[in-house]
């Protein structure tokens, strides 16, 4: 990963947090003083390096892990905003990345009952809940959206 691509990745993440949503390629290009096609080319390289995840058409962000660019079943209230996480691990990851407390809201995939977890100093208030990871680590990036 080149220093230029690392800079693009870091600016993309910074804008994601500033805006409270995924930035468009046009917004990132404006912030970097470059062009939208150059941002899209860089995003594709970062996608290939697993530094972010593009939507299927390659024109917008799908994930800036742990943040999700699209609504999911994992909502996180942290740093004064609501965010979407890609999964349970990422939901805790949003609090970790923002270095703040938060509240995770989701539902049990089995029974559908609402689950709400307060995270204080990265410690959940309900230790009875269980995290389940279906796929082994070697397969996570085979289909990261499914993972």
């Amino acid at each position: 990963m080149t220093p230029e691509d690392i800079g693009l990745r870091n600016q993309t993440y910074r804008l994601f947090v500033e805006l409270g949503r995924a930035p468009s390629a046009e917004e990132v290009a404006a912030a970097r003083g470059t062009t939208e096609p150059e941002v899209l080319d860089g995003w594709r390289r970062l996608h290939d390096e697993h530094a972010l995840v593009l939507a299927a058409d390659g024109s917008q962000l799908r994930m800036a892990n742990p943040f999700s660019a699209v609504p999911t079943n994992y909502r996180v209230h942290a740093d004064g905003r609501w965010w979407y996480a890609n999964c349970a691990w990422d939901a805790f990851g949003i609090c970790a990345a923002l270095h703040c407390d938060g509240r995770i809201e989701t539902s049990c995939p089995d029974c559908g009952e609402a689950l709400s977890v307060e995270v204080r100093d990265h410690v959940p208030d309900d230790p009875s809940l269980l995290f389940h990871c279906l796929l082994p680590a070697a397969q996570w990036w085979d289909d990261i959206v499914f993972t």
């Binding site: 990963m1 690392i6 990745r9 870091n10 993440y13 910074r14 947090v17 390096e49 530094a51 892990n65 742990p66 999964c87 349970a88 691990w89 990422d90 939901a91 805790f92 990851g93 949003i94 609090c95 970790a96 990345a97 923002l98 270095h99 995770i104 989701t106 049990c108 995939p109 089995d110 029974c111 009952e113 689950l115 977890v117 995270v119 990265h122 410690v123 959940p124 309900d126 230790p127 009875s128 809940l129 269980l130 995290f131 389940h132 990871c133 279906l134 796929l135 082994p136 680590a137 070697a138 397969q139 996570w140 990036w141 993972t147």
Partner: protein, 69 residues
């Protein structure tokens, strides 16, 4: 990667599929800090596979399930 009310709920959801790995949410909180804590740092640089594997190992996640590719 999901949160369940309990192991019983996870087993029922699996519906006969092979189970993956389970962690307490306390352990998940520790893992999240170690894995994601630097993601918004202005000085972020890519993690190597070895760095990521070391994070897992330091939290006791050492078996084949947690071996990255």
């Amino acid at each position: 990667m999901n949160l369940f009310r309990s192991g019983e709920h996870a087993d029922r959801w699996l519906d006969g599929r092979p189970p993956g790995a389970t962690l307490t949410v306390g352990k998940l909180g520790e893992l999240a800090v170690a894995w994601w804590g630097d993601r918004l740092s202005p000085q972020w640089t890519p993690h190597t596979r070895e760095q990521n594997q070391a994070v897992l190992q330091q939290l006791g996640l050492r078996d084949n399930f947690w071996q990255l590719r």
